[in-house]
């Protein structure tokens, strides 16, 4: 393991590809290697009427953080204006709510600001972000650039500039696109990767999850027709695109997500 871990790992890809399980297994691996790593995800996309609050929990020895938008916004403004009372007031005003909810991507700016602040407060912290599905990952990465252009000056401009330099620092951030071994999913992952590449210079790697071929490569002939064909398609895809794939994770026989996570543990260290 020559690679020094990055400070921020973003796992993205379409829903149902196993991002959550994979990112949790990855955190577990980092913790095993005595890094201070946490699993982080976003609770909500807009400032709603019900305020859920940031939540932190230790689940099976792994620290999970679920960020709430309103709490994150309040924390951000508090830091900037140095007043909890003002911050609480501002996030409750209709103007601010309109601003955040009407200006798409503002939510991600707030969340990313919070994540980078956490990284700043604790220089040893490694954040593993279970990011929203594809299109939204692009919105998220684009948010900082958009906001630099929207706010031409002021604290948010300065912060967006700072965030951008962190997000775009290959030594700080790494993006993992998770794909299924189907042609459609692969194609979408390639498109997502190139979309992300246009927006950030950090390393972006695609891994393939849930491969039947990789689980049963010796026994394909014994599978029923549709599954055999599926596995053969996987084989073809994996062989043709091997150079573009960071990892291929086999289909897990486990039934619950915790056991699937444990199945992945053996091979996730490649993602560091």
């Amino acid at each position: 393991m020559n690679d020094q871990p990055r400070r921020l790992y973003i796992f993205t890809g379409k829903g149902g590809v196993g991002k959550t399980t994979l990112s949790k297994a990855f955190v577990r691996k980092l913790v095993e290697q005595e890094h201070e790593a946490i699993y982080l995800t976003f609770k909500n996309q807009s400032l709603g009427e019900t305020h859920q609050g940031n939540a932190e929990a230790i689940v099976d020895g792994i620290k999970e953080v679920h960020l709430d938008l309103e709490d994150s916004a309040r924390g951000y403004i508090d830091k900037k204006l140095n007043s909890k009372i003002l911050a609480s007031w501002i996030v409750k005003t209709p103007f601010f709510r309109a601003l955040v909810n009407m200006v798409p991507g503002f939510n991600y700016l707030i969340y990313l600001g919070k994540i980078l602040q956490m990284g700043h407060d604790n220089p040893r912290l490694i954040v593993v972000l279970d990011a929203p599905a594809s299109g939204h990952a692009l919105t998220m990465v684009e948010a900082t650039t958009n906001f630099k252009q929207i706010f031409e000056s002021g604290i948010i401009f300065d912060d967006a500039t700072k965030m951008l330099s962190r997000l775009n620092d290959p030594a700080y951030t790494k993006i993992h696109v998770v794909s299924l071994p189907s042609p459609m999913s692969w194609q979408e992952s390639i498109e997502l990767k190139s979309g992300l590449k246009e927006r950030t210079p950090v390393s972006i790697e695609i891994s393939v999850n849930n491969s039947i071929y990789s689980l049963l490569s010796e026994q394909l002939a014994e599978l029923p027709e549709a599954l055999k064909e599926k596995a053969l398609n996987e084989k073809k895809l994996i062989e043709e695109n091997a150079s573009e794939m960071r990892c291929v994770f086999p289909h897990s026989l486990a039934l619950d997500s915790k056991s699937i996570e444990m199945d992945l543990l053996g091979s996730v260290s490649k993602l560091i």
Binding site: N101, A133, Q187, L215, A226
Partner: protein, 347 residues
């Protein structure tokens, strides 16, 4: 139960479950007897190629032909929709404001609201019997519909009055669009304070541009409100079918159930859970002898049956589509189209 064809057919679901492909095949299955428009957000290149859509077609209604079936398709482009709105409502500022421009980039985040506005504009054209809408991925679209009430309140006079007041207060906010006379002093006092704090964070120029953007959006309120009024139609059982799509592969019944409960006062009884990529038929007649394969079979069967049990408990109707592994996407679409026809004729 047969599925009745409605004016609006909405496909929701997280990405990667075959939502766009299912919406496309549904549109094709209806196209023979109806004038159909398929509105889709961001299909994979393979599907675009298959339907003969080119990148240049983005944002324009395009006639496509698939195996002899003709229908119109529209790949959403937020930028083009904004331009169309500006033209048809004669509000050129809409297409020129700096903030609106940045936000209407493909990933700027205005996909949801603009797809509603677009569907409404297309429906008003009277050219279509059925519009099939493939929504942006995730729970986001339903979250978004849920929040429509809040957006509607944006266009309430009181709210906009504040922005107009701010517009007058900020030096170079551009032309004043509306004039309202009475501003509540308490509100304005609070707003002044808020502004002075916010300017520290956002910079003064942003406040000006944002206020201008809001005024411009307000000018185009007719278009937005019409788009929003679409939600009333979608609530009508006679006007709309909802399809919540998930897949066996994805194995997340909870997500589909939450998706629906999120929108419980929105979705009427004509909603279908579409379960894609079912393996049940395939596995039934397979009797492997090897232990690893036995485990494999039983894990797949258990996962699928757990999933179906949960879904059937929560949805009035579950439509099953089998896993289709034929490598040709063309065959895949045809197969799904046939399946829709089968579902439509079942009674």
């Amino acid at each position: 139960m047969a599925i009745t064809t409605k004016s609006f057919e909405i496909f929701c679901g997280t990405g990667g479950v075959g939502k766009t492909t299912l919406a496309t095949s549904r549109a094709l299955s209806l196209a023979g007897e109806n004038r159909v428009l398929l509105v889709t957000i961001d299909p994979a290149k393979r599907l675009k190629d298959l339907l003969g859509l080119r990148s240049e077609d983005m944002g324009e209604v395009t006639r496509i032909t698939f195996e002899g079936i003709e229908l119109d398709a529209l790949l959403m482009s937020p930028e083009k929709t904004i331009t169309r709105m500006a033209a048809s409502y004669n509000t050129p500022d809409l297409a020129s404001n700096r903030i609106i421009k940045v936000l209407s980039r493909p990933y700027g985040g205005m996909n949801e609201i603009l797809s509603l506005v677009e569907v409404q504009m297309q429906f008003d054209s009277g050219k279509y019997d059925v519009i099939v809408l493939d929504t942006p991925p995730g729970a986001h679209f339903l979250d978004f519909l849920e929040s429509l009430g809040k957006i509607r309140s944006f266009f309430d006079q009181n709210f906009v009055e504040i922005f107009n007041y701010l517009g007058q207060k900020t030096a170079n906010a551009g032309k004043k669009v509306f004039s309202f006379n009475i501003i509540n002093k308490v509100i304005s006092g609070g707003v002044k304070k808020l502004l002075s704090y916010l300017q520290k964070v956002t910079g003064a120029q942003f406040i000006d541009d944002f206020i201008q953007a809001i005024q411009i959006i307000y000018q185009s309120k007719e278009a937005f409100l019409k788009g929003l009024s679409l939600q009333d139609r979608l609530k009508e059982k006679s006007q709309c079918n909802w399809f919540l799509v998930t897949s066996v592969e994805q194995g997340k019944p909870q997500e589909a159930i939450e998706l629906r409960s999120h929108a419980s006062h929105f979705i009427h009884e004509d909603h279908y859970l579409v379960l894609n990529k079912c393996l049940e038929n395939e596995l039934r007649d397979w009797s492997p002898t090897d232990n690893k394969l036995k485990n494999f079979k039983s894990s797949l069967e258990q996962r699928e049956s757990l999933l179906k049990t949960k879904l059937r408990e929560s949805f009035p109707e579950v439509l099953e589509f089998p896993e289709v592994t034929s490598i040709s996407p063309k065959d895949h679409i045809q197969h799904l189209t046939q399946n829709w026809k089968k579902h439509a004729s079942q009674s």
